[in-house]
């Protein structure tokens, strides 16, 4: 190992070749979830901030249904690399201190249940993290890139309480919350603390 390192430093062309090989192999594996490290984006297109700005926090006045919400999917949904990166961000950005290391709540609400005060579809979760919320949830939009925010959203989605974009309307009408937890007899989805 020592000799290799020695040679590495002495021979720039050797070094360049080896690194090119590494980078080439990374590029070749682009799109495979395992290589989506925390810093890298893999070139996946993300929903535009301008689109997200039009997502409403509540229901829309009038008779039109809100189709915008159902069309915005999290490109990192189910991507194990992104979920892992999001989980690391969840720890490093102090989310665990308010929401718990198990995300079951503490100072902040439980993120594993199906009760969402501000909506549980991917775009609504993204906006809650990015914009902050009135009861003390900080706004992370300035400090985290949209890529990091979508990875965090993917992590929250992986906890099981959120619902996918296609069911956003159902979620707003409360049809996704009321399932009985037969172990405790408590309605799953009812927030445990007021």
């Amino acid at each position: 190992m020592a000799i290799h390192a020695f040679a590495f430093h002495r021979a720039p062309c050797l070094r360049a070749a080896a690194i090119a090989l590494l980078i080439g192999s990374v590029q070749a594996c682009k799109g495979q979830p395992e290589l989506l490290r925390e810093g890298s984006t893999g070139g996946i297109p993300l929903p535009k901030d301008s689109t997200l700005a039009r997502v409403a926090l509540g229901d829309i006045a009038g008779s039109t249904r809100n189709t915008l919400l159902t069309s915005i999917k999290n490109p990192y949904e189910g991507n194990t690399g992104a979920i892992e990166a999001g989980g690391e961000l969840f720890v490093r950005m102090n989310c665990v201190a308010c929401h718990g290391y198990d995300a079951r709540g503490g100072m902040g609400p439980d993120l594993t249940d199906t009760y969402w005060r501000y909506g549980g579809s991917p775009a609504e979760i993204y906006k809650s993290i990015s914009e902050g919320r009135p009861q003390g949830m900080p706004a992370w939009g300035a400090m985290l890139t949209s890529d990091e925010l979508w990875k965090l959203t993917a992590y929250v989605q992986s906890l099981g309480g959120s619902f996918p974009a296609a069911l956003a309307e159902q979620g707003k009408q409360g049809n996704l919350g009321a399932t009985l937890d037969t172990a405790t007899g408590v309605l799953k989805g009812r927030q445990s603390e007021p």
């Binding site: 190992m1 590494l22 810093g39 950005m93 890529d147």
Partner: protein
């Protein structure tokens, strides 16, 4: 497809560091040992080679010839010529040399294991993927300071180095000053060094630790005590004391500071401001460093612009994401960073 980042030589790469050309202890003692063993080995090889050649080329004597001698009592004595004496002599010489070399090795390694005198300076190195966090300890806690990747030490003063890792196994190695010390998560390993000559000595991570293992350099600059004291005092200062009061700063720098504190403070710290992040290198005195990215590129405004915009392009896989900043915002941040002396 072009290579997505720059392979560049930085100011640190003026010469390749070699452990056979030491500039201090314990590398010095180890290098002496290295040279000595090398010389002995070479000498032995040369001697044996000569003897081999001589033996091959030398004319063999007639097997029937003997050397006869007439003794004083009139009898004739026959002396056989044999090479056994050569073996006795050779064995004796090699045993002496072997024992001597063994003794020298043991003594030399024992000497280099500990500093000869109590180190006055303690340096805590925390290895991350892929940069080095440095904490220079002090008996008064508030005089301790944090920096990254490049440090100074006074010439001739032993320094204790305690290494630990935040993630995977690394290895801390500055060839001209001391041998490799593995950095293992969950434990603290201790080594030491003393620079005997002024100069800048480049080090590297010597245990494969991930994608950018090759770009995890370190630099130790040894300088006279007085210059070191000045450097340490400057590093201890918070950024507020090095910058003029806010009103005197150009608006671009102020804007850069605002953007820095709102956007970069989750990971980076600049003591004296509200930026107190610990995930990335401490940037309080970024402008005093020669390189950025742990020895990847020289610390110039142009390189800073490239790094802040898209560190991923230059050092793929690094923890710093590709920032969503506009070009003029990046320029403002860089203009602020260049004031951090």
């Amino acid at each position: 497809m072009s290579l997505p980042y720059i392979i560049a030589q930085t100011r640190l790469d003026s010469h390749a560091p070699s452990y056979m050309r030491p500039a201090g202890a314990p590398a010095g003692g180890e290098a002496v040992l290295g040279w000595a063993l090398t010389i002995i080995a070479v000498a032995v090889t040369v001697v044996i080679a000569i003897l081999l050649v001589v033996a091959v080329l030398r004319k063999r004597e007639d097997p029937d010839s003997t050397t006869t001698r007439k003794a004083s009592d009139g009898t004739y004595r026959v002396r056989l010529v044999s090479g056994l004496s050569w073996i006795y002599v050779g064995l004796a010489i090699t045993v002496v040399i072997l024992l001597g070399a063994f003794g020298a090795t043991v003594v030399s390694l024992a000497k280099s294991a500990h500093a000869p005198s109590r180190p006055k300076i303690t340096m805590d190195i925390i290895a991350h993927q892929w940069w080095w966090e440095v904490r220079m300890e002090d008996s008064v806690p508030s005089d301790a300071f944090v920096t990254a990747n490049e440090i100074h030490v006074p010439v001739g003063v032993p320094v204790e180095i305690r290494v630990q890792s935040q993630d995977v196994i690394h290895s801390f190695w500055v060839p001209e000053l001391f041998g490799k010390m593995d950095v293992i998560p969950g434990q603290i390993n201790v080594t030491w060094m003393r620079a005997d000559r002024s100069g800048t000595y480049r080090g590297a991570c010597a245990e494969y630790c991930g994608l950018q293992h090759a770009h995890m350099a370190f630099a130790i600059t040894a300088e006279p005590q007085k210059m070191y004291d000045k450097w340490a005092a400057a590093q201890r200062a918070t950024s507020a004391s090095s910058l003029p009061p806010n009103a005197a700063l150009p608006p671009n720098v102020l804007r850069g500071e605002t953007i820095f504190v709102s956007t970069c403070s989750g990971c980076h710290a600049v003591r004296g401001t509200n930026a107190l992040g610990r995930l990335g290198p401490d940037l309080t005195h970024l402008a005093s460093r020669q390189t950025i990215g742990a020895g990847l590129i020289d610390n110039t405004p142009a390189n800073l612009m490239r790094w802040v915009s898209d560190a991923q392009a230059m050092k793929p896989g690094v923890l710093m994401p590709r920032m969503d900043l506009r070009h003029d915002d990046v320029a403002a941040v860089v203009s602020y960073l260049t004031t951090l002396h």
